[in-house]
Amino acid sequence: MPGAVLLLVAAFAAPSAGLLSAPAPVRAPAERQLQVERLQSLSFGVFVAPGEGSVTVPPSGLDVAYEHVFPMRGSPSGAVFQIKGKPRQAVEVQLPGQIETRSGAAHAVLHAFKAEAEYRTGFEAVGPNAYRVELDASGRNLLHVGGRLDLRGGTPQSGVNADLWLSARALDDGAAR
């Protein structure tokens, strides 16, 4: 009865076609890749610098230390990075050792970068400017980064502008650990 078989297939094919044209109600969960995004810049604020001096901003942005310079206005703040990945994933984070910017004879040295994690479980320093960070149950963590600015050989005109990078690498697969 080849004719009967054909009819049966047609009867099932019609509702399937109808379903395909409807919006997809369920989507398979995508594999979450490790991501880092910057939420806030590192600011040393506005200060008067008669000559050489330094400003140290802790990761929290509080209790800023000034040496031979005088704060004027605005509040310094630590940089904030958000790391997204898999729940409980361990991540290695690397910060630069030193950044230099020059302005004539004067130059600014940015160094001694330090990080603090908002979700502190498993957080530890694992090397110079490197940290092991664990993501929380939702696969996120926030890193606050501070550092020290040294002014050497005079005062750079028009201030200091530089880029602070933070790179991250997955150490494991999170939940599979």
Partner: protein
């Protein structure tokens, strides 16, 4: 039972191998991801005040009580029995202020000070009260205690005041040490 146990062990081993394989794959394929935040510091040049000329009330004949007022713009006003004599002209103190272009600064001057007799014919120690000091910022074009730096970061600040000479003031040379400080607003 033995077979069953062996089967469980084999299954456990397979699971461990699978987990290790997945983890290894994640690390091997784990590329570094990087984000960049800007770092900023605004550095302001320090203020400098360079004294160019002193505040002078001139030679005053003060037999009777009187006052001499020198405005920051240089006008001299006499009151009471004070009379100006010819000679050293009266005039405001003048400072050159240097700092960050365009910024405002505040001038701090004491409300009053004592002018002390330093030289003159023999007489006992004497002082004169001086006060009501006022400043004029050339860039801000205003009298008050706030000045402004021009686009090159300079300003000329002049300061005047009033000196009170009571009757019978011993003649002499009176000087004032007037501390003037400037600070960014």
């Amino acid at each position: 039972m033995r077979d069953h146990g062996f089967a469980r062990a084999a299954f456990a081993w397979s699971g461990a191998a699978l987990a290790a394989g997945l983890a290894g794959q994640a690390v091997a394929a784990g590329r570094r991801v990087t984000a960049i935040a800007s770092v900023r510091a605004e550095i302001v040049r320090p203020l400098q005040a360079i004294a160019l000329s002193p505040l002078s009330f001139g030679w005053v004949q003060a037999g009777l009580p009187g006052t001499v007022t020198v405005s920051p713009r240089g006008e001299v006003t006499l009151a009471g029995g004070a009379k100006l004599m010819k000679g050293d002209p009266a005039g405001p103190a003048q400072f050159q202020i240097r700092g960050e272009p365009g910024l405002f600064y505040r001038v701090n001057i004491p409300a009053s000070v004592q002018a002390v007799r330093r030289a003159g014919p023999p007489a006992g120690p004497a002082t004169l009260a001086a006060g009501d000091f006022r400043a004029w910022s050339q860039t801000a074009a205003a009298t008050g205690l706030v000045g402004r730096l021009d686009r090159l970061g300079a300003d000329t600040l002049t300061i005047g005041g009033t000196v009170h000479a009571p009757g019978g003031t011993p003649p002499g040379w009176y000087t004032i040490t007037l501390p003037v400080t400037v600070a960014y607003e």
